[in-house]
Amino acid sequence: MTATAISLRGLSKHYDQVRAVDELDLDIADGEFFSMLGPSGSGKTTVLRLIAGFEEPTAGTIVLGEDDVTRRPPFARDVNTVFQDYAIFPHMSVLENVEYGLRVKKVGRAERRTRAEEALATVRLESYAARRPHQLSGGQRQRVALARALVNRPKVLLLDEPLGALDLKLRREMQIELKEIQREVGITFVFVTHDQEEALTMSDRVAVFNEGRIEQLATPVELYERPASAFVAGFVGTSNLFRGEAARELVGAEGAFVIRPEKVRLDAEAPADTSGLCVAPGVVREVVYLGSTTSTVVALDAGPTVTVSHPNTDTSIDAALERRDQRVVLTWRRDHLVSLEEETA
């Protein structure tokens, strides 16, 4: 077991009647890339702000390494934050921004300069030291914010949806780069996002938040392959959910079950050998062409609507579109079904 970077115990934050964070217990390991994923209002950003010290918890403790920092102000905690809007000081140059943390900690001028330049090199902005913030693009500002935080070599780096303001292409590039930088500097990253793809791409572990609580805490693979609840299954990727009557008819069992769209086969007729398969006839309602894949929405005779996703390896879009309103048969392997641990009402 590696050392613990952050340890939250019974952490709560209530605003009047709203429980933004509700009795949270969480351990984040040293050097981990940890993501907090959830819809807006799920409490993930509040947890980040509690760790940074911008909010005071209603109850619970925050331990950073060995130190209980629960009641300490932000400037007395060994964490740094990359803000969603970057918060680059507009009246300072890029270099002055990056030097800021060292300057207020009274680090000598020469060392300050060297370390700031190193940090700028880490984010590949060496040649931008003298620029003013308003001369930078969104992606460059994001890097400055990162360098400004990293230069302090904090125990933990907190990132509040740092890629949210970037366009898709840049976001994908930064995802890979962030992961590389994290590996390089070996600092624990706590990353807040509402983008499931982002969380799956970068993280060692992901905590899925819903209504102030963690719904599931797992590796990206586990999260996708074995979602613990209908909420996680729905939030991380697309999934088809069967419960109640539909579950009994389609799966032949009580409970709630999930099947991912890419695990479902779509044919004109049922295959000859159906051992180990679930078979469900239905009518194609919609065909959506997505470039690399095609999504087909099928209304099953058993009731639920199922989304099927197929790579466009050897299907043509014209053939796929012709299926609209046709009768089809869906099949999937029984062992691809994920059974959700749900309260059986």
């Binding site: 934050t81 000081f89 207020v104 308003h134």
Partner: protein, 269 residues
């Protein structure tokens, strides 16, 4: 988009308004150089004589000095209190916050006669203080605060709160954060507020009339008292011209400043 005809008529109206406002002012300036001390039109000749006489007039010089001191002191007071008020109202959300905000802004809209009377009554009857330079300063500060408060509050609103959080996150304490982040970002707003405040105080007459002792004559009061003495009329013209210049320069600078800083800051976001 404005139609061509509408734009023309708007231009014409604007021109007429500006002419109506500025012709009399220009006349005052011109008459301060008029050789004829009954201001005959057209001026028979131009002279610097009245400017010289005005400069030699001890009363006018004292009044100028008094006005400058009052305006500077009121502005200094307004800067400190206005900034603190804006910071206080921003950081905390409490019941009645908007009421407090309104109460701070209100003095600029209150009739000067009412404010002046209230202050005179407050100082002399209730507190038992003799009127002095400082009673003028305090009375002026009540409406000077508004310009600082408004400017600082607008700046805070545009900046948002993340810069200070970022500073504290990077290890700076509250005072360091104010010194290195908050204050530099407020600087141009403070300067604009201060210049406007100076301009407001410098030419104020109504409130001043009620809160000044007979010894502390500000420039506007001096003008008012000398206006109807026939032999002083040319000097009054000179002093009025000086007053216009003293008031116009800060306003002009304040306007340029807030224009320039808007550009710089929005570009930085």
């Amino acid at each position: 988009m404005l139609s061509h005809g509408l734009r023309r008529s708007l231009t014409a109206v604007t021109a007429v308004v500006l002419v109506i406002v500025y012709i009399p002012l220009a006349l005052v300036l011109l008459n301060s150089f008029n050789t004829d001390n009954t201001f005959g039109w057209p001026p028979p000749g131009l002279t610097l004589h009245w400017w010289h006489v005005a400069w030699e007039s001890q009363g006018a010089r004292d009044a100028l000095w008094t006005s400058v001191r009052v305006a500077l002191a009121a502005t200094a007071l307004a800067l400190v209190l206005g900034t603190l008020a804006a910071m206080g109202l921003r950081r905390t959300r409490f019941f009645g916050r908007n009421v407090v905000s309104l109460l701070i802004i209100l003095p600029i809209a209150l009739p000067g006669v009412v404010t002046g009377l209230a202050f005179q009554n407050g100082f002399r009857t209730i507190l038992g203080i003799d009127l002095s330079l400082w009673t003028i300063v305090i009375a002026h500060a009540t409406f000077c605060i508004v310009t600082v408060f408004n400017n600082v509050q607008a700046r805070f609103q545009r900046l948002g709160g993340n810069f200070e959080q970022a500073s504290m996150d990077l290890g700076a304490g509250r005072w360091t954060t104010f010194r290195l982040v908050t204050f530099p970002m407020l600087r141009s707003a403070l300067l604009a507020g201060a210049l406007l405040s100076f301009g407001l105080s410098f030419d104020e007459i109504v409130v001043t009339t009620f809160t000044a002792s007979p010894q502390d004559q500000t420039l506007p009061i001096w003008i008012f008292q000398n206006l109807f003495r026939p032999n002083q009329a040319p000097i009054v013209n000179v002093v009025a011209a000086v007053l216009v210049i003293f008031s116009a320069i800060p306003i002009y600078l304040a306007q340029r400043l807030s224009g320039a800083s808007t550009e710089g800051l929005t570009g930085a976001r």
